[in-house]
Amino acid sequence: MSETNVIELKNVTKRFGEVVANDNVNLTLRKGEILSILGENGSGKTTLMNMLSGIYFPDEGSIRVWGKDVLIQSPRDAFDLKIGMIHQHFKLIDILTAAENIILGLDGPMRLNMKEVTTKINELTGKYGFDLNPAQKIYSMSVSQKQTVEIVKVLYRGADILILDEPTAVLTPQETDKLFNVLRSMRDNGKSIIIITHKLNEVLEISDRVSVLRKGKYIGTVDTCEATQESLTEMMVGEKVSLDIDRSNPENVERRIEVRGLNVRNNEGYHVLKDISFTANAGEILGIAGISGNGQKELLEAIGGLQTIESGEILYYTKHDNNVIEKLHQMSAGDIFDLGIRLSFVPEDRLGMGLVGSMDITDNMMIRSYNKSRGLFTDRKVPYNLAAEVVDKLDVVTPSLETPVRRLSGGNVQKVLVGREIASAPRVLMVAYPVRGLDINSSYAIYNLLNEQKRAGACVMCVGEDLDVLLSLCDRILVLSGGRVSGIVNARTATKEEVGLLMTGGKENS
């Protein structure tokens, strides 16, 4: 009966334009349980949960909460239904204290009685075993402390259903253990909890049941005690789909980039790359797999001269036989270019780093090469011709070469960027999520371009999220997990499960 089901989703469908983010999803959450929602990136987990927290509204299907059909139109409606969501990106005001953040936006008497608030917070933290000082300012907190504030904020508002979106992505193993203890204690106090994740070991450790989504579709729900890493991986990734990508055998393979013991910290001081060592060869495509946010972005930026490197070496071999070696780890992007090293990079953030949105295609063609011509003035003839060529060759749909690239569709923006980066006949080509947001035809056009570069003798590194694609496109795949290399596999023989397991750090734990 539905008394024990606090949430029931029936045939919920959500579309964004042409894209179906959730397709006929059914889901139930029982009172006093921890339910994991498992799926790869882009499988629709967060979209589904956003419909429970009032951020999106479903196109079809019904939502029952506490046994009643409901319309959740705003975060406030969700609050009223005692649903609280803890997003991946915290919504906290840095200069305020934990307590002030917790009561932010609540109605009440004009005069703030922080003593009363503090008492109430301490009651909550004591009850569930949180470690939180209500008077501490957010800016002096660690990520896990900030997360605690977010959870307490939701509890303070009386939530009985908690949804946590990838809560462990930013935590250390010790902090994760702490969080799980708190979640268990909340469950034992009658709260119902949904946790979105893609880490198998955590699913098995924390949850009572697991629901799996794949590419927006609901696959099924199993009791955790009956599941194994292998069975869950299979549900999550599905069977291997063979793609029609024309993969040639590597020719004239020689060492081009060698990374030795690379360590990088990001601006916030997190250790994002730990002891990375690998070799990337000319004439082959090295895939880089991993759950997003596991160091892929920083790795490519480090090679491209855009990251401050804490320790380690990045070596560039000009020619194998006479061993001319350049030390890329000591150079900025400008230095690398000035040395004449043809290192091309298609960054993940296309309009924030790779291109200038307000400039036209011609001007964007010369971002990395404007300084190559002599004299004070920019030469726009060459970039103009290049722009025309790229537009023509890659079928970029644009009103004109003078259109700001911001106005182009995502696929066309990507073609402009990739077209520019391969135009210099690169010796090293790094691409991050090259087909994100692109339709099938554009995607294949990009795959073919990468293969062309490989045949031309470039060292291609490709960060991707679709394992089917990486397995059909690459020669070898390097897997990152938690900022470390968790394995390098042969893409021709590896299975999807194998890579999936490496991505989720499965091997470390099993």
Partner: protein, 326 residues
């Protein structure tokens, strides 16, 4: 001793207008609006108060000081409100650039003040002829008895009521920002409107309310200058750069109105210290007068080197906010 007492009295006299302006600007900036129109609004507030008093005294047979005072305060508040309304409508509702609107408002407000101030001077018979002595007497009234006490009375009770009001307002604003629910919400709006919005706080309402209230407080600074400092008369551009000093004081006060109280005293003192340093030539005196600005620049540089996040400008200062449509 008497020199020190008059020095302090004069420093306070200089500081009050700046304090009103700074308190108003702090409230405004706390909502994320950098209102560079504050100097113009102070002109508008000052001249409106003068106009109100002038026409009242002209029409009444025997003008009552208290009535004149109330009328001039009301006119001052309404006119400053109008200035603030122009700013908020353009920046919040029409999403125009805050710097551009603020500077245009200062051009407008300064012209507005000088135009009407100059015009009624002329009506009254020539430059400096306008005088609303009756009303001004209410503004300049001291507390009888207390102001007569030697030293203490001269230091603390030698001022009109607006002086005390400026201090009280600054304290109230600090209390509001630190101890009330709406104050907390306002700080959140200025720091991160997106976060405030998602917490259910009505961002535009807070931006409007804070900026309008701030404008009215700043307008009182103009009124103080006209009524108490000048004694109910007008001199074109007489208010000078005090409006910008108020904007500078916001930085010195680290966005805390209570700090602005002593800060205004420091600015007031720096503004007139040249008179009290013996042996300065006139040229050196002029160099002395740049001290408030130099001090502000030094403070600005030091705070930008990030000692404490609380001392930074509100994080969203100068940016317009609108919720992205989903």
């Amino acid at each position: 001793m008497p020199v020190i007492i008059t020095f302090i009295q004069r420093a306070v006299g200089q500081g009050v207008a700046i304090l009103f302006g700074a308190t108003g600007e702090i409230m405004t900036e706390k909502s994320g609006n950098l209102n560079l129109g504050i100097p113009g609004i102070m002109y508008m507030g000052g001249v409106a108060g003068l106009l109100g008093a002038f026409f009242y005294e002209k029409s009444a047979k025997t003008p009552n000081p208290i009535a004149g005072m109330l009328i001039s305060i009301l006119c001052c508040l309404l006119c400053s409100l109008l200035g603030g309304l122009i700013y908020t409508f353009l920046t919040v509702t029409l999403r125009a650039n805050q710097n551009v609107v603020g500077l245009a408002l200062t051009t407008f407000g300064t012209g507005f003040g000088n135009f009407f101030g100059g015009s009624i001077s002329k009506m009254a018979g020539g430059v400096g002829q306008i005088s609303v002595k009756t009303t001004a007497s209410a503004f300049r009234a001291r507390i009888p008895g207390l102001s007569g006490i030697p030293v203490v009375g001269e230091l603390l009770f030698h001022y009109g009521f607006l002086t005390y009001l400026s201090v009280i307002l600054a304290l109230i604003c600090t209390y509001f920002l630190k101890r009330t629910r709406s104050g907390l919400h306002l700080v959140a709006v200025g720091e991160s409107p997106a976060t405030a919005d998602s917490a259910g706080i009505n961002v535009p309402v807070y931006k409007y309310a804070a900026t309008l209230a701030g404008s009215m407080i700043a307008g009182l600074g103009g009124l103080y200058f006209v009524m108490e400092y000048l004694g109910g008369t007008w001199s074109n551009n007489g208010f000078g750069d005090r409006g910008w000093l108020a904007v500078a004081l916001v930085i010195l006060a680290l966005w805390n109105p209570a700090n602005a109280i002593w800060g205004s005293l420091v600015f007031g003192a720096l503004y007139i210290i040249y008179i009290y340093i013996p042996g300065l030539s006139r040229a050196q005196q002029e160099l002395c007068k740049m001290l408030p600005y130099v001090v502000t620049i030094v403070v600005l540089i030091f705070t930008s080197r990030r000692n404490k996040p609380e001392n930074q400008p509100p994080a969203s200062l100068g940016l317009s906010y609108f919720r992205e449509e989903r």
